[in-house]
Symmetry: C2
Subunit: 337 residues, 2 copies
DNA sequence: CTTGGCACTCGGGAACACAGAGTGCCAGAC
DNA sequence: GTCTGGCACTCTGTGTTCCCGAGTGCCAAG
């Protein structure tokens, strides 16, 4: 039913519509693409494609526009991810190379991606789940307060202020720090709860209240931050595009960490390059938008995801190429450090 | 020339225009405000106010609209900062009270302010300049790399990865850490360069290369981060307001740290509640917007500034009240920790 | 199955008229 | 001298009508 020529017609419609932003008619198609058939034939094909739900006309007597289903078919079967030019690759590399710490890496990445795709970029911080403990530090701030700092192998630093039950002297803190470090060093974060479960019992009785307080904060910080941090950039790029749905809703969604989280993350395979088109999106208010996302991280350890959000009418091959490339470079950078 | 009644007329125009978003005419003014004179008289006053540049008409035979100069006069002489309701105060307090660390404080503050004013909120991180060193930590990551962490009394944590010239053993690092902490503890950040200037000379010769490397990173991080970190929230609130100038420009400006910095900061008195109206603003692209900002920080030590950005047509008394209140509460929270 | 022809539909822009809000000005009242 | 009511005038925005053109669907012939 859907033969090769019809697919070619669909591809042509998507490409033309993406580049012109106007409904495309049979005559224009015949002119701009060498399909080898007349407009009338194309019209027949278009009627079929419309009946099957791949395209639609905004009004009678207007050209056709791809539906979400049409874009989906295009992405799955009719397009190839477009690699970046070598100039672009160079630019990415040099831009990311200058990063000094994990915050810097994430910030540079999100800006780079926004500029490259001219859309809104979203980057998730490397998840704690797959990281290991590099160091634990306890810094006395005053007699009854100390700061607890956790440094992971991905360079991420978690900090918490702990209110102490009693006045505690420096020596006990130093001792506990040593104990914590020897028992946790190199330990995966998911393994931390097990490791520390019986720790208080192995300590002298007078250290136990202190240890218990600190450990509860430690565990809490691991759980709490399970809603990972996410940043975005390039909101200005939304101003040009006109959404079917209000711009306001999109901006609101962007400021909801949880929503972004699910947009990037709802996939079993963390590393896959995924595309979510328009109504495939679970959130009302983001109906008119598509999300292209990929995982990053060194080798088999996928750390987190990044991607872009833009209007459904986007250049998927180019966008997918950019996202994939940036994900790879970020992985390299992180693996090197 | 500008007598009391003309000022009353100007105030009425500003208030009506802010609430209705439509040019206001003489008849409407006479109806809605009890000015005690007839529309004809108001027309005469309006003609004078227009000649002096306080108001303007978009087109002949339309009502009047305040100019930037008119808003300025309104803010300076015709309005009083409106205090928040006690319900709002309670909400602020409880919302900010739950913060766990400095990042959390800043994030909560910016969201709170955005929600409260229904505009874009901007918050600057506590400046390093007025902070003191609480603790310096050196964490070996591998043989030739270590992480340098600086904790300030405001709870801010600066981290940098240092590439070492030589393989360095744990003991030397521990020694240097001790030296650094004893000499820097409680020292104001601006005083750090002086304090460490002659430090290498006071160390045994074999420690000097290591010390020099670390100190250069330390100094660099102080200078580098002098462009302070700034965050914003509530961009969605821009979607409703229609700007004379493009929304795009505003969003772009918001993502430029440097621009935001200057918007909040260009004032000699860090603690003042300042208002910058429309064209008083140094940046093209932010012409149609006003900025209301205030300083925060404990007592005489002003730490940084926060504020909101919105359309020139905003409710200044309410906005100024909200900004001032939030600044005070944040100061309290920070002073307590 | 493809193609050219043809009648039909509908959106969008141009031309036009009109009501309504608001102004400026003037002459008279207080 | 200042305020007020009246009046003519000037716009903008809106609604109406009309028409062009792009695009379609259908049909009969190749």
């Amino acid at each position: 039913m859907v033969d090769d020529r019809k697919l070619a017609v669909l591809r042509a419609i998507v490409e033309d519509y993406v580049s012109t932003n106007e409904p495309v008619g049979s005559k224009a198609l015949a002119d701009r693409h060498s399909l080898g058939v007349s407009p009338a034939t194309i019209r027949n094909d278009m009627a079929v494609l419309e009946e099957q739900g791949y395209i639609a006309q905004p009004h009678t007597s207007a050209g056709r526009v791809p539906t979400d289903k049409g874009y989906r078919l295009f992405v799955d079967r009719l397009s190839q991810v477009k690699p970046l030019s070598s100039a672009e690759r160079k630019a990415i590399e040099s831009f990311l190379a200058g990063a000094v710490d994990i915050d810097d890496v994430v910030m540079r990445t999100v800006r780079l991606l926004a500029q490259l795709t001219r859309q809104v970029a979203v980057v998730q911080y490397p998840t704690l789940t797959n990281s290991t403990v590099r160091h634990v530090e306890l810094v006395p701030l005053s007699e009854r307060r100390l700061m607890f700092v956790l440094i992971t192998n991905t360079g991420r630093v978690e900090q918490r202020v702990v209110e102490l039950p009693d006045v505690v002297d420096e020596q006990r803190v130093a001792h506990l720090r040593a104990v914590l470090n020897t028992s946790l060093d190199g330990c995966g974060l998911t393994g931390v709860p097990d490791k520390v479960a019986d720790l208080p019992e192995r300590l002298p009785a007078e250290d136990r209240p202190l240890a218990a307080t600190i450990l509860s904060v430690l565990l809490e910080s691991l759980v709490d931050r399970h809603d990972e941090k996410i940043v975005f950039a390039g909101a200005a790029n939304l101003a040009g595009a006109d959404f079917t749905v209000g711009l306001r809703d999109v901006l609101e969604a962007l400021e909801e960490q949880v929503v972004l989280m699910r947009l990037l993350g709802e996939t079993s395979d963390l590393s896959a390059l995924t595309v979510r088109i328009g109504s495939e999106n679970p959130y009302t208010g983001l109906q008119g938008t598509s999300i292209v996302a990929a995982g990053y991280g060194s080798g088999d350890k996928q750390l987190a995801r990044l991607g872009v959000l833009g209007p459904t009418r986007m250049d998927y091959p180019v966008t997918m190429g950019a996202v994939r490339a940036v994900a790879r470079y970020v992985s390299q950078i992180l693996a090197a450090s």
